[in-house]
């Protein structure tokens, strides 16, 4: 847990005059699980795009010290938010997962095909997708695709895992399965996890720290430090009530969009 996977220094992101967040100092350690919360349009997905190198910071810096001189892409696992990807024809679940393993390599990939097939089958089995992995993805439901996306991200054995609402359209059982898989990956391999979500409770036992974004401001800390009435009230500038109920966190207060049922889509149109 000593190595730093991601290092952000005085980082800021603005579109034109509108600042999403600024002055963000954040070190994400290897094996650390960070949940990113905040209302729609607070810059959660944009933070992931910055970490992916697809969006440049308007201020400050972001580094991946643990990667040293290796390329960033192959070391990253990415679960995109549902509905932001178009599904192509003539692609099966296994193809999608397989591309997550070696799609960034040149050539046809005929050598080592047996080992590749074994690893893909293993990753597919882990998310319980074996019964439908041979079907074209265009025919699968949202939840089925989402589980394949998780397999696709994990099969590449990433050292940094970026997840954009990975629990969306999953039932409670599969939310648990996905949460456990990600948890196991970071325990066994020290993968740093950045987990954008609008619902913290399904992963609350795993979360080391919370990054809560709101209206250009943010709070970072353990779930207890951030998810309490005082902290959220000061962040929102209005009275917020945080209640712990049966090990779950419930937020009540004026216009708090923490538990909104829709995903955030506002920043998706930027790219």
């Amino acid at each position: 847990m000593t190595a730093t996977a991601v290092e952000m220094r005085d980082a800021g992101l603005a579109f034109g005059k509108r600042s999403l967040w600024s002055g963000l100092d954040l070190d994400i350690g290897a094996g650390e699980f960070i949940a990113v919360l905040g209302p729609n349009g607070s810059g959660k997905s944009s933070l992931l795009k910055v970490l992916l190198g697809q969006l440049s910071l308007s201020a400050g810096s972001v580094r991946f010290p643990a990667l040293q001189h290796r390329r960033r892409g192959p070391a990253i696992g990415y679960i995109p938010q549902q509905g932001t990807t178009e599904e192509a024809p003539a692609v099966r679940g296994v193809d999608l997962v397989g591309l997550g393993l070696d799609g960034h390599r040149w050539g046809l990939g005929l050598r080592g095909k047996r080992e590749r097939d074994r690893r893909v089958a293993e990753a597919v089995r882990a998310v319980g997708a074996t019964p439908f992995a041979e079907q074209p993805i265009t025919r699968l439901s949202g939840g089925e695709r989402q589980r394949l996306r998780v397999a696709q991200a994990l099969v590449g054995e990433p050292s940094v895992l970026l997840c954009d609402e990975p629990l969306l359209s999953l039932d409670v059982t599969h939310q648990g399965v996905v949460g456990e898989l990600i948890e196991r990956r970071r325990r066994s391999a020290g993968t740093a996890v950045v987990f954008v979500t609008h619902e913290i409770n399904p992963v609350l036992p795993y979360v080391d720290r919370v990054l809560y974004l709101h209206d250009g401001d943010f709070r970072v800390g353990t779930p207890d430090e951030v998810m309490n009435s005082a902290t959220l009230s000061s962040l929102y500038g209005t009275k917020i009530e945080v209640v712990r109920l049966a090990g779950q966190i419930h937020v009540a207060g004026a216009h708090v969009a923490l538990c909104e049922d829709e995903p955030h889509h506002v920043e998706e149109r930027v790219l």
Partner: protein, 306 residues
Amino acid sequence: MENLFDIELTLRLLGLDFVRHALLASALLGLVAGALGPLIVMRRMAFAVHGTAELAFTGAAAALLLGMVFEGVAVEYGAIAGAVLAALLLGILGGRSAERDSVIGVVLAFGLGVGVLLLWLYPGRAHTQLGLFIGQVISIDRTNLAVYAVSTVAVLGVLALLYRPLLFASADPVVAAARGVPVSLLTPLFAVLVGIATALGVQTVGMLLVLALLVTPAAAACRVTSSPTRAIVLAIAFAELAVLGGIVLSLAPGVPISAFVTAISFAIYLSCRLVEHLRARVRRRKDADASEGAATAGAAAPAAGR
């Protein structure tokens, strides 16, 4: 057309050198078209292929005209140059998918206008001009054949080298970009491969019908398989069937081959849609049976527990 089933005449013609050259060149074209087709379908590039073909025509028309002045400017080089230029232009100008459609329309219209002007300036035989529209595979000689062979090897070689990242970028561009695949570099590279294939197609089936070989076989294949590898194998088989079958059928009646090539590839496409439809029906029936079976089993379970 009354000679359509004159097998004796067909066999006699098949013995001729120029017919054999035509068949060989078309076989190479079918190979390239089938190999690129599924990626073209996946990337929704049918209109881009059409636009590229029209500019291959412009390039060929320019080469026709230049050929009057300079010895050795062959039409196929003009077609390849035009298509590659068009592909690059479309790749650079139409980077954003939202604009791609209109950019192709704009470039295509201008290129076609230039091509018409060039053809009008060309004082040669009208037959040569018409050949660019509907193909003139019969005029392919040994030199053309060498160009075809070199182009085929080059396109297939580059495709093999780029295959995995190209498939990733085509099937799943968002995650591909995240994983470090140079998606924006692959787009013009693939466009150049398509440009070369298109230029070869302009020679055989003509500018108007390149889609019949680059898009239709792959679109048909994608109806009956969802494995990218199998889609390529099927698309090659369909393209070969269409282009070789079209040539053989066109021999005796002396009809332009494009009529038969497009008819065969369209028939294959319709058959594949039919197969897809029938399979879906079988699948639905199976699903219905399965859920009925599960319901019966569920009802039986408590009884067994008692």
